[in-house]
Amino acid sequence: MWSLNKISTAIHDWLSATFNPTWTMIFEMVIAGVAVIGLFAVLGLVLVLMERRVAAWMQIRLGPNRVGPFGLMQSMADTLKLLVKEGMTPDGADKFLFNLAPFIAMIVAMLLMAPIAFAKDFQLWDLNIGVLYISAVSSIMVISILMAGWASNNKYSLMGAMRSGAQIVSYELSAGLSILTVVILTGSLNVNDIINAQANGWWIFKGHVPVIISFIIFIIAVTAETNRAPFDLAEAESELTAGFHTEYSGMKFALFFLAEYINVFIVCAIGATLFLGGWMPFHIGSWDAFNHVMDYIPSSVWFFGKTFFLIFVIMWFRWTFPRLRIDQLLNLEWKYLLPISMFNLLLVTAIAILGWHF
């Protein structure tokens, strides 16, 4: 059976056999870095195309269909266009911060890739506080947005950045709390432990109603955290023209754009890992034949399938709902999501202590 794990092991074995351990380490790091950047590029292209196609079909349109077969090369063409465009720095902007901001957004997105298990035994960095690491690092994203908004010396950008600051800080809370429910049930912060705990069934099925509630809250909170509609107040096209990236153009804009999509991918990957069993195949109790067929599907396919399903749901939100207003956005968090998820956390704790989950 084809699997990513075998490829990585083969490379590791070959490198270990050819070079001494230090060089092996260095080579592996380079390969990992290149792979992450490659994944970035591919994900950016795929997700942009996917978003456009999803949007088009929901809006009774065809979507991109001119560049390449079925418009598959459309995002390539877009990237090319963005590459050759002039990256302007507005007069009066804080040049250093202005140019730094997109890179911070990008670096944060890259850092978040580390603890994600893309397939069985295929992970960049298996650290024991994986989930904590993710929620900690993803908060840095807000700094790049604030930086971009402030440094642009544009009132729209500033307002977008300020909105985004309030938004991300508050939605961290309920995202964190809903992640905690799974952590409590598993008893570990390690990503692999969480996935292995779901070998006999995903948490969303095993954890009764409280986990379903926390799953819903998680989806809402991460939609807000990644500044996606209906929570795209930082961009708020019809109010703030383009929010914090109003003044960005060319490749600097593309980095923000890419970072947004990578963030969506990462939060969906985390959602898939925590609630939908990561790369664990779908098993039904004692249907051995069915389970066998499911096992035959490579674990990476399972992981990406689940992740893309969640991405689709988030895109579905975007193309259906109107945008919230800033005070309503904070109301939703502090009056609804936070109390519910705190109460929910209590329930889950009780379930975990009493051992009611499967």
Partner: protein, 385 residues
Amino acid sequence: MFRETEILKSGSQVLPAGEDSGGAGDLVINVGPQHPATHGVLHLVITLNGETIKKVEPHLGYIHRSIEKMCESLTYRQFIYVTSRMDYLSAHINNHACALCVEKGMQIEVPERAQVIRVIMDELTRIASHELWWGAMAMDIGAFTPFFHAFREREKINEIMEETCGARLTMNYYVPGGLMAELHPDFQKKVKEFIALFKRKVDEYDELVTGNIIFINRMKGIGVLPKEDAISYGCSGPAARGSGVNCDIRKLYPYAVYDKVQFDEILETDGDSLARYMVRIREMKQSVRIIEQLIDNIPEGDFQAKTKAVLKLPKGEFYSRVETARGELGVYIVSEGGTTPYRIKFRSPGFSNLSALDHMARGSKLGDLVAMMGTLDLVIPDIDR
């Protein structure tokens, strides 16, 4: 005058405290003339305190073509086509107002057939205009999909217009004394098809937007315009009817065959954005009702009254009022007895409705301003003329 340039030049700095900015830390931003939510070249100078609006100051004229002055050198046949360019979304209704005014002055009896067709066309225009408003307003508050769904139905109306009038937006189909051409043979069939489609699809609008909890929260209690203020600010059309003002010209001063058809004047009493939204949604259904009553009963006869080749209005003043999709349009012609008007004034609904924006917007959030502008249904060429 000096002050605006100051604001424009100040770029992105926070203005210092002074009588202009109102206080320390106030943020003055220019919304427009190029801005996604203004749907045109409206320029609003907004004074903000954080996200809260302290003052909205419209600056107009970016698309002012001085249509009133232009009309002074055009004959009574020619000036009608210009008015299609004012409120281009209700071009037929604008033309109707002008034709009515000239007919009033010349005392032309318009054939019944022409009057019925005019009413059908007006109501189709009204539906098309409200469809566009619905899509654009949903886009203003962040939902992109409704725009395309609205345009699907609007496209059908445009096709009907194209077949009969030869154009999709600026038709110039009405002439003093009747219509420019006979109806297309397929007209009745197409209109019935459209009505069947529209009735099916209009419920989807409720699913997609009207019932949505986010939408209701964005609209309810936003931009409240009390009844007295609505009258005082000269608001008309759905903007005023949302505040409970009886102002439907079709009911109050019926023209064409509006006195012979059954329809309700839609009134909501809340005066907020949701009320204005509901007025328009319900008005579309009333328009369908009017069309349904007339489409099978178009009387036979001429589509145009016999008129002289050169129209000369007698000396005097003539005023006609019609209900466009945005409100009351008045055409005021002062004639000196020649072939061209001496002075012509278009009382456009958008101009008066816009003047209430500042009053409505004070104290609300920046995001609400967009919702308010959306529900006022501003068409900038109509405001600027």
